[in-house]
């Protein structure tokens, strides 16, 4: 594609030739021809984008607010110079360039390489992809410019932030409900040593006690004490109404932080954690423990987006059979726009679950972006208090979570209403 400069040169050349013909001025015609010839010769000497690109990321998964270090290696694999080559690494606009630049102008000789390094700040959770790499090459006199891209992507997941909630659980009434993993004096999957027994075909090799084998000459197996764990169910409200507020402060964002922090806390205590997200559909992650489950939970939370209007009653009805008897249930919802919340909570409590409702105050989030008349705000708040009071009346523990309140501080405010 011609640049503006080339278009002007060409048009000027044509104009000079024609005007030269009009006024029979040969110098003018020669000048015009020189312009045209300049364009023609330059069209033979163009740059190219035949380069190899390799991107290295400092991590594939990050927590919200962390920095991502990116290095881009560009190698000219052609036998020609690249001329003026612009390399631009396409970065999601949700990421902030913290240092360095994600673009560079290069003139690489054959086989020559160049590195572009920059740091990104990731302020929003989500699944992102860095790339492709856009290339724009010009010839020496900047008369032609062409663009192409190298389809090289690097996927990255930004997890929600994890808040420390241990102290809150120790100090609040909530901690008493969840004791974490405790060892039972019966053999089974666990962490503490129970006894040594003879090897039976089928036993995993990793449990073989090699020292005992060396001493006795017989294969012996380490048996562990079975851990008794709690199954914790986290239900996250991701309906469209959860988007009210700013990009960083809204019920959904705070809900994901709470869910991730709770999951982290309980998985560290070797409890099994299950995550349920409901928006326009229901997504259920069965209870499990360990790093793998932790990663699954964080990945799910990273991809959550507000949509749909599924009622909580539909969620509890469909999942009630899967919930372990008497296990604690954490409902993270603003409880707005859903008349089925009281009955859903009542049903869960009725089935013997310890229900805790962590409710971000949506009216206060709304106040961050809208000018709500004072009186309307007060009435809306009273209505919300009524709603939370009724939930507490059904036997659940209710936490009214204000926007400027830290999660651990909110957990301390468990109230019975």
């Amino acid at each position: 594609m011609w640049t503006r400069k080339a278009a002007f040169t060409f048009t000027g050349g044509i104009a000079l030739i024609l005007i030269g013909m009009m006024i029979s001025n040969h110098q003018m015609m020669i000048l015009g021809l020189a312009f045209i010839a300049f364009i023609v010769v330059n069209s033979w000497v163009s740059g190219h984008g035949d380069v190899e690109v390799q991107r290295t990321l400092s991590a594939d998964n990050l927590y919200k607010g962390d920095d991502l270090y990116v290095e881009l290696l560009v190698t000219n694999r052609s036998r020609r110079k690249t001329q003026q080559l612009e390399v631009y690494d396409n970065v999601p606009h949700e990421m902030k360039l913290r240092s360095g630049l994600n673009q560079m102008r290069l003139n690489l000789k054959p086989g020559e390489s160049a590195r572009i390094r920059y740091v990104l700040r990731c302020p929003l959770r989500g699944h992102y992809s860095v790339g492709p790499v856009s290339l724009r090459y010009r010839n020496t006199f900047n008369l032609s410019v062409d663009e192409m891209y190298v389809d090289h992507h690097s996927d990255i997941i930004i997890f929600p932030q994890i808040r420390d909630v241990e102290e809150a659980f120790i100090r609040s009434r909530t901690a008493k409900m969840y004791t974490g993993a405790t060892t039972l004096r019966t053999p089974g999957p666990g962490t503490e040593f129970y006894s040594l027994r003879e090897y039976v075909p089928g036993d995993p090799f990793k449990n073989i006690n090699w020292k005992a084998f060396a001493r006795t000459g017989e294969l012996m197996i380490n048996e562990k004490c079975r851990d008794a764990v709690t199954d914790l169910y986290i239900i996250l409200d991701s309906r469209d109404i959860a988007r009210i507020g700013t990009v960083l402060k809204n019920p959904l964002e705070m809900g994901t932080v709470a869910a991730a922090s709770l999951a982290s806390f309980f998985i560290q205590r070797r409890d099994s954690v299950s995550l349920t997200i409901y928006d326009e559909k229901l997504s259920f992650l069965p209870p499990d423990t360990g790093d793998k489950q932790y990663f699954k939970i964080l990945s799910s939370l990273a991809g959550v987006a507000p949509r749909g209007t599924m009622p909580l009653q539909a969620v509890t009805n469909s999942l009630a059979a899967r919930f372990s008897r008497g296990s604690p249930v954490f409902i993270i919802s603003s409880c707005e726009g859903d008349g089925t919340v009281p009955s859903a909570v009542r049903d869960l409590v009725g089935r013997g679950h310890e229900v805790t409702v962590l409710s971000p105050s949506s009216i206060d989030f709304e106040r961050l972006v809208s000018r709500i008349p004072r009186m309307s705000y007060e009435v809306l708040k009273i209505e919300r208090q009524n709603r939370l009071t009724s939930l507490a009346g059904f036997g659940s523990q209710v936490i009214d979570w204000m926007p400027d309140m830290d999660l651990s501080q909110a957990l301390l405010q468990v109230r019975g209403y």
Binding site: R4, F8, T11, S24, E94, V247, S362, I363, V379, N386
Partner: protein, 538 residues
């Protein structure tokens, strides 16, 4: 279910009609502009019997440069030395492209069907005024605009004469280049009626250079431009010419025409028994007067007219235009009759008789392009002028291929747009608009820049704010609070006696608010909401 694309017949029909009409218009315009013919077009660069290659080669052998003008005679204005240039128009086979232009009066005109546009005719005239020589050979073609600008007119219809080649047919007519007509002696031209050229043979300023050197003993190598008249060691100039023509017309002199030229002289005429088939029906009906029954003409007609700037048409002052009433006078078959009879240009049906076409043509070229510095006093016969040039007009010849025709048309348009006043104005406007277009539309790609953007606002339903300020809604919210505070179900609360409810509320203001339906001012409503807010805390 996947939806099938809609088949819009009306839209398709409209599109088809649009493209059909556009194609029709384009083909009409192109067919007017591009006129591809067979190989019969007369050209100085073709080798057929009806081309003029022999004439051109003879000119080249004289050391004269030949060129062709494929675009437009407008380029004659750019010739550096018109006095030593001869422009030859032989057979105007097609009309000009009718394009708008300024007339000499400054009005906007379109060229009519007369071969050359006013600007082109003007360029030819300027060329003649600048000392150039023009030879126009045409019969039924489109050269009338040139002729009329010099005070003559081609009749454009076929002329028959009794002085014709009997062994061929009546279409082959003899033109004796002399003042009085020549006659026949039986089947041959009567030599007693043959005279000399009325200008070239007269020893005055307009004499042919070979006449000036006539009779001088001179070596052949020194014969210069008169080499064809060298014989037996001397220049023996013979100024009689029997030129053979084929399918001719007549030329009239337009009386009282202001052309700015000095002299209009008749160089050749027909016999007094010549006839003209005016209505072109192939039959001659003549009478004492021209009417419907006898539409054709008879008498003596002009075959060649010379129009000069100077009174004596001398070669030093230049500026002459010669009209011949036949476009094929110099075609290979007539000009190089020997080669034609020998089959050099294909099989000859009938032999062409001996003629003076070559002799006349060469003497014409010599007369036009001899060195103007020659005075006749030097011992040797002068050569042609050092920068002498003959230009053949190919712009009005039908081209055999679409490529050459397109090339000619494009070249014509280029010359038109850079030579004609209105077109130049138009071109200036087009160039201006193009520059503006480039300036406005041609954009370089934007520089790449990473934009960090997470601006997002999730707004709630603002319409509910006014609803929540109404007393009924406030009342409903308050009653819910009372019900919750007392741990009652909806059914229990709904069946509660009024007195018990009043007891539960226990605030007279709020009791009044619940039980009395009346309008509250804003201040009163605010006060009630404040009371509701603190209600139940004690």
């Amino acid at each position: 279910m996947e939806e099938k694309p809609r088949f819009n017949r009306r839209r398709l029909a409209l599109q088809f009609a649009f493209w059909f009409v556009l194609l029709m218009l384009l083909s009409t315009v192109v067919s007017k502009v591009i006129n591809v013919g067979k190989d019969e077009g007369q050209s100085a660069y073709g080798d057929d019997w009806n081309d003029m290659s022999a004439f051109r080669l003879d000119i080249n052998e004289m050391g004269i440069e030949t060129k062709s003008l494929v675009s437009s005679p407008l380029l004659l204005a750019d010739i550096e030395d018109p006095a030593n240039t001869t422009f030859i128009i032989a057979g105007v086979e097609r009309d000009t492209i009718s394009l708008p232009q300024f007339s000499s009066d400054g009005f906007l005109t379109f060229a009519s069907e007369d071969g050359y546009s006013p600007a082109e005719v003007n360029a030819i005239k300027e060329f003649v005024f600048a000392g150039g020589d023009v030879l126009v050979m045409d019969d039924f073609g489109y050269s009338s605009s040139i002729a009329e600008s010099f005070g003559v007119r081609f009749k454009g219809v076929q002329l028959y004469d009794t002085v014709y080649v009997t062994e061929l047919d009546y279409n082959f007519v003899w033109m004796c280049v002399q003042e009085s007509p020549c006659g026949m002696d039986g089947t041959q031209l009567d030599p007693n009626t043959v005279e000399n050229h009325s200008r070239w043979a007269i020893s005055d300023g307009g004499a042919h250079i070979c006449k000036v050197y006539d009779g001088r003993a001179i070596a052949k190598s020194d014969a210069g431009v008169c080499e064809q008249h060298w014989k037996d060691g001397a220049i023996q100039y013979n100024a009689s010419y029997q030129v053979l023509l084929n399918n001719i017309t007549g030329i009239d002199i337009l009386p009282n025409t202001k052309t700015g030229m000095g002299a209009t002289q008749i160089r050749s005429v027909t016999s007094a028994e010549a006839t003209i088939d005016v209505n072109g029906d192939g039959e001659i009906w003549v009478g004492s007067e021209q009417n419907a029954e006898t539409p054709d003409l008879w008498g003596q007609f002009n075959l060649s007219i010379e129009v000069c700037i100077s009174q004596d048409c001398n070669f030093r002052d230049g500026g002459r235009i010669t009209f011949i009433a036949d476009g094929s006078a110099l075609i290979n078959a007539l000009y190089d009759y020997e080669g034609y009879n020998d089959g050099d240009y294909g099989k000859a049906d009938k032999p062409i008789p001996e003629n003076d076409n070559r002799k006349w043509a060469m003497d014409y070229i010599v007369d036009s392009l001899v060195d103007p510095e020659a005075t006749g006093e030097s011992a040797d016969v002068p050569e042609v002028a050092p920068n002498a040039m003959v230009i053949f007009d190919e712009s009005r010849h039908i081209q055999p291929s679409i490529a050459s025709e397109s090339y000619n048309t494009i070249y014509f348009l280029l010359v038109y747009f850079t030579g004609e006043g209105l077109a130049m104005l138009l071109l200036f406007i087009i160039l201006f608009i193009t520059f503006e277009g480039v300036l406005l539309k041609k954009k370089d790609p934007e520089p790449w820049r990473h934009v960090f953007s997470i601006i997002y606002y999730g707004f709630g339903d603002a319409n509910r704010y006014t609803y929540y300020a109404k007393s009924n809604k406030i009342k409903q919210v308050f009653l819910s609070k009372v019900r919750n505070q007392n741990g009652l179900s909806r059914e229990e609360f709904d069946s509660l006696p009024a007195r018990d409810l009043q007891g539960m509320i226990s605030d007279p203001v709020l009791v009044k608010f619940v039980f009395e339906n009346r309008n509250y001012s804003l201040e009163q409503t605010v006060a009630i909401v404040k009371r509701i807010k603190v209600w139940g805390r004690t």
